[in-house]
């Protein structure tokens, strides 16, 4: 089994990591979309994201991704170092989203096994022009750099690594062919390779990663390195990738020459050295539009010691510690199964009959076993919580949708998000994302009025508002999408449903409000006359309801005309655990979800009505309910047939009720739902199985299935 988990290749890692980073990026952007500008932390974060994606895509040779991310990195590098005022924030947001979309698109291609061949040129030029404008603006307005950007560079001291007697000193110059793309990245990979063997390594230009102009410099003037190492010349040469190099000069120096060369490289011992950002700052100060084209000036060289790792840009940002690891779900499930087993094994040990020998002194054993029970209980809780994930990511996607759709439609909409930290089982999150997307789109498209004047006319602010709220109540999660738009028009809905022949021909007054609202979930119903890009095909709502029902949730709709509508998804907290009541019929235990049980009653023979066709009904307090004998339904032997000896369970599912005859009640407990193995064909009325405390298996009754089955039989 272990092999299954080890198939992650570098590409998988890249896709996964980049995907995560992009999600994070979108989160930042959308959170700040209404702010005036990004704060320093955001800029750093975006810069870091772009930098990482650029780096890894460069390694994997996806040049279009590299170029685009590189450009955006440039923009944010400039923002970070120069703190320009008057950044057209909205435009910047759009640019970032455009890049994010581009990269996401390319990643999707990679996921499908295609080559990422998206045309990046337009985007790069667009960003170039934007960056030019940013810098230009400053020049035009002659704004002095604010004090804040006197960014104090952490002083870097250079301590010459102790050169052993067997150390060699080299000066290496690489000249790339003039048409080499991204020579700076190639140069970086060369330095990266040399770091493996280097005791000390200097290079110029030094800002090969953070300054894309260095690529031009490298092509024009070559890339120069000073290396102190114990490795031989041959070994060093072998490390350098010479594929695009035109010429590599390789001089061995004496220790004295090396010292002089250090001076040339702009390094003086134990003296603070101006770092690259200073150069960029200078450029900004001068407001030089041509700044990008200029190579770094002498004196801009930076010290790199062996420990410099991934380059100073990263180190300076103090990247936030990733505190999340991704684990294969199979491993999680295996762990969960094992813990379940552990709990049972524990019971077997602690209640072992061998312990029941009279006169046995067990106080130490009892103490130890108490401790063991505590730990296993906690272990169970932890594994359960591991499956839970906050809705944050899902909600973030919704922000993006509101942002995109509202801009496309030209509506001014504010999105309020409440309770995004609500935790839900991972499986459920996967199921609700699409339905939620439909609902949010619907709200933006259909809910909020097209003309702000319509809003002000009824005394609402001209800016539309959509509230996305999640809360956890009584073992259920409520996720609601609320808009303050025009609301649902009952007459219109009724008329439409009637016209389309989706409902019986009954006068409108015979339907309750709820029933009328539910019309919109009927397949083929769409009140929007025109089909838009986002919604209106009339397939949305019925799919929403289906998806939600598949995870045993429901959709509640409420609306007041001219005031807005609210769509609420009510879903179980987790699919994995339900609160159930174990009952017995014949020799078989069954589990019924507690939430669907209305009551238990004992009735006499006189409450039973039998039709000649064999249909049976139970009359309870004047109401008549369909009646199912589980033992007959499932052909269970050794069960009791007499209605007064058994117990009637009244079950409810989505407004319809059914009475079920069982033999006896066993217990109430939290149960872990497991699917019935797929080898066994699906049985109607059973939704899964579970393991009881003693290790035996009970089947879980599916009320919806029972009701459906009942209906079919008729």
């Amino acid at each position: 089994m272990a092999e299954e988990f080890n198939t992650e290749s570098m590409l998988d890692m890249f896709l996964y990591e980049s995907g995560q980073l992009l999600e994070k990026l979108e989160g930042i952007i959308l959170e700040k979309q209404d702010a005036d500008c990004f704060d320093d932390a955001d800029i750093n974060e975006i810069f870091r994201v772009m930098h990482t994606i650029k780096g890894s895509s460069g390694v994997l040779m996806y040049e279009n991704i590299t170029k685009v991310t590189h450009k955006l990195e440039d923009v944010f590098y400039y923002l970070r170092e120069s703190h320009p005022d008057d950044v057209p924030h909205m435009e910047l947001v759009e640019k970032v989203l455009a890049v994010s979309d581009f990269v996401t698109g390319e990643l999707d291609k990679l996921k499908n096994g295609d080559t990422p061949d998206g045309e990046e040129k337009e985007l790069v030029e667009d960003l170039d022009e934007f960056l030019g404008r940013l810098k230009g603006e400053i020049k035009k307005q002659g704004i002095q750099m604010p004090q804040a950007n006197k960014h104090v560079e952490p002083t870097q001291f250079y301590i010459t690594p102790v050169a052993g007697d067997d150390s060699h000193f080299y000066r290496i110059s690489i000249h790339y062919r003039s048409d080499t793309q991204m020579s700076n990245l190639r140069a970086y990979s060369a330095t990266y390779a040399l770091k493996e063997v280097a005791e000390d390594l200097l290079y110029t230009p030094d800002d090969i990663l953070s300054n894309e102009a260095s690529a031009d410099v490298i092509v024009a003037e070559g890339f120069h390195m000073l290396l102190q190492t114990k490795s031989s010349k041959e070994d060093v040469i072998a490390l350098i990738d010479s594929s695009e190099a035109e010429e590599i000069n390789f001089d061995e120096l004496s220790k004295e020459e090396y010292g002089r060369a250090l001076g040339e490289f702009g390094r003086e011992e134990a003296e603070p050295v101006a770092a690259a950002p200073a150069a960029a700052k200078d450029d900004g100060n001068k407001g030089n539009k041509e700044a990008k084209k200029e190579g770094p000036k002498p004196g801009d060289y930076v010290v790199k010691t062996k420990e410099a790792g991934k380059g100073k840009t990263l180190a300076k940002n103090q990247p936030k510690q990733q505190s999340i690891i991704s684990v294969n779900v199979e491993k999680m499930d295996a762990l969960m199964d094992l813990i379940g087993e552990l709990v049972i094994a524990e019971a077997v040990v602690l209640q072992n009959p061998d312990l029941k020998v009279p006169g046995l002194e067990l106080s130490n054993f009892q103490k130890a076993s108490g401790q063991l029970s505590k730990i296993t209980t906690e272990l169970q809780e932890v594994i359960m919580s591991m499956r839970m994930m906050p809705l944050t990511n899902t909600f973030q996607k919704m922000r993006r949708i509101v942002f995109d759709v509202s801009r496309k439609l030209g509506k001014d909409i504010e999105l309020e998000v409440v309770g995004e930290n609500t935790e839900v089982d991972k499986n459920i999150i996967e199921h609700i994302t699409d339905p939620l997307m439909h609902l949010v789109r619907n709200s933006v498209d259909h809910g909020i009025e097209e003309d702000p004047a319509d809003r002000t006319a009824v005394g609402k602010s001209s800016k539309g508002k959509i509230t996305l709220e999640a809360k956890n109540e009584g073992g259920k999660v409520y996720i609601s999408v609320k808009d303050d738009g025009k609301g649902l028009n009952k007459e219109k809905l009724y008329q439409k449903a009637l016209d389309k022949g989706l409902i019986e021909n009954k006068p409108m007054s015979e339907f309750t409000d709820k029933e009328i609202f539910r019309f919109i979930t009927l397949p083929g119903f769409s009140t929007k006359e025109e089909v838009t890009e986002y919604s209106g095909r009339g397939v949305g709502m019925d799919v929403v309801v289906k998806n939600i029902q598949s995870i045993s949730g429901r959709l509640d709709i409420s609306s007041v005309e001219f005031e807005g509508s609210e769509m609420t998804l009510v879903i179980p907290l987790t699919l994995a655990i339900i609160n159930g009541i174990v009952v017995q019929v014949g020799n078989s235990p069954f589990v019924i979800e507690t939430a669907s049980i209305k009551e238990f009653v004992r009735v006499g023979e006189d409450s039973l009505i039998s039709e000649p066709s064999g249909e049976e009904y139970i009359v309870l307090r004047g109401e008549c309910y369909p009646f199912i004998r589980l033992n007959e339904r499932y052909d269970l032997p050794d069960s009791n047939d007499k209605i007064e000896e058994g117990i009637i369970v009244v079950l409810e599912h989505e407004g319809s009720q059914v009475c079920v005859l069982i033999d006896k009640l066993l217990q109430e407990q939290e149960i872990v739902v497991k699917p019935i193995p797929s080898y066994v064909r699906k049985v109607k009325g059973l939704s899964g199985c579970t393991q009881l405390g003693d290790g035996s298996i009970a089947l879980i009754l599916d009320i919806a299935g029972l009701l459906m089955h009942d209906g079919e039989r008729r």
Binding site: D337, R681, K682, V683, Q691
Partner: protein, 179 residues
Amino acid sequence: MAEDLLKKVETDDMEELLEDDSQKGMYMTFQIGKELFGISISYVNEIIAMQPIAAIPEVDDYIKGLINLRGKIIPVIDVRVRFKMEPCEYTDRTCIIVIDVKSTMIGLIVERLADVDTIAEDNIAPPPSLGRKEHEHNKYVFGLARTGDTVTLLLDPEKLIRQDDIVTAMEEVRKEEQS
């Protein structure tokens, strides 16, 4: 009894087998009725003693129900019933052979475990088709093996658990995933 046998099989033969990579030609043999059947050891995951089975309603009669194998819930089928023989009482010799066929774990209820045998290819003959065509279980038997004076019927587990069973199950799973 069965447990003793299990222990013997597990400790003596299984370990050897697992250590020895070449499981080829090794068959776990078991008795059903009067016949001896064999199943390639490469399918066998483990052998467990008979245990309580939770019956599932509305399924084919040879699917006896579900058992709990260390937290994993797996279906078990009664090979006797599968072969359209009269079901018999489960005794302490009755065992469940847990097999893994294309990642589907299934338990086979067999009357009695016999042994683990090495059967050379040469000793395996295709089942004679003459006159037995209508005989139902012929389709699960892919060969007859002679060892000494006994004949072992070699079973193809993939056919035994019925190919279409898995296919339809997979389709259902896929459908569910889509909806």
